[in-house]
Symmetry: C2
Subunit: 201 residues, 2 copies
């Protein structure tokens, strides 16, 4: 077998042309209960309908799999985001629109991921739901536990959430124009069309 023969590798550009859209990372960030995962899934479904090749990373498929060995310590939280960023880079290289839905409270972590991608491929989506709204929803009862001290370092209670300063997309949930998940999701897809990332079907 002649190993000096070089088979043509499939290039990033070929994968992108095949898929018919630009590969990007939609990085959803926001408090627990802000609606990140729900919104990311809704956008994902709309993009899929538009024939985009997409995938979503969230707690469901990351925490018990790739990052199942990590705790919630500060050092492991950084590693958690680092790995999510690295996996996202692989999906982008494969030509997909990859979405991630994690609280990702620290600016420095989000900037680290942004800095590793070419200009324009990291799209920060700030799911801006006020703390009192998230806490009133408390879908998993986590805020209640955090207030009782049963959970430590809970974002918004005894750990900081650093809001994005200049997110590419800012969803002010509940405010005029952002009343429902459907409206918010359609708003994001329209922005992606306007940015030239996806094309109308």
């Amino acid at each position: 077998m002649n190993v000096s023969w070089h088979p043509q590798k499939v290039s990033h550009l070929q994968r992108q042309q095949f898929n018919g859209h630009r590969p990007v990372l939609l990085w959803y960030t926001g408090l627990s209960g802000s609606g990140k995962s729900t919104l990311a899934n809704a956008v994902d479904a709309l993009l899929f309908e538009q024939n985009c090749h997409t995938y979503l990373l969230d707690g469901d498929n990351i925490r018990h799999g790739l990052n199942g060995d990590l705790t919630f310590s500060d050092i492991d939280r950084v590693e958690n985001i680092r790995r999510i960023g690295e996996v996202s880079k692989l999906f982008i290289d494969a030509g997909l629109i990859i979405s991630t839905a994690f609280i990702s409270p620290f600016s420095s972590d989000r900037k680290m991921v942004r800095s590793q991608l070419p200009e324009g491929q990291f799209i920060e989506v700030f799911v801006d739901t006020p703390l009192h709204v998230c806490e009133a929803r408390d879908p998993k009862g986590l805020y209640k536990k955090a207030r009782k001290g049963e959970i430590k370092n809970f974002t918004g209670i005894d750990s900081l959430y650093e809001p994005p300063e200049n997110p590419e997309i800012h969803i002010k949930t509940g405010e005029p124009g952002f009343e429902t998940i459907e409206v918010c999701a359609q708003h994001i897809v329209t922005l992606l069309l306007n940015m030239g990332i996806v094309s109308a079907k």
Copy 2:
């Protein structure tokens, strides 16, 4: 924003139907210099020509990225394979044909990855090149260094390679029917067609 509204998540089946082929993991294993990565790239290019959605994980995109924090210690080698398996699962869930090209010398590690996937989705490709051939090629000069003791725990020299017992695909490089990379790659694609994983274009 009504978070109790459940947007339709894109299902694994929908992604698979959209792509038009079954998602599988092609797990290439073999000695350093066996031609794993070259062969995996050649197969990937052929599958891409057949309109398959594919991606390849190898040292180039894994060792300096996701697994850049790992050493070559025994415990880190296990973690290396674990993460590659977990990332492969995500790509399969996304509907792609994902290939991995790593020595992966230990049966137990390969079995761990196999056990985490549904029956039929883990396809072990044994790139069976004899040690003396790999060592004569020595494309990166690693065997020479290992023989001098400059590299420790080098597979085939002072660390074991456990050949697969029942690989789905067995490529006996250099033997009749497996003379060139092109022939080997075409052989694998034909097997995937026969297995009903991909369809003729």
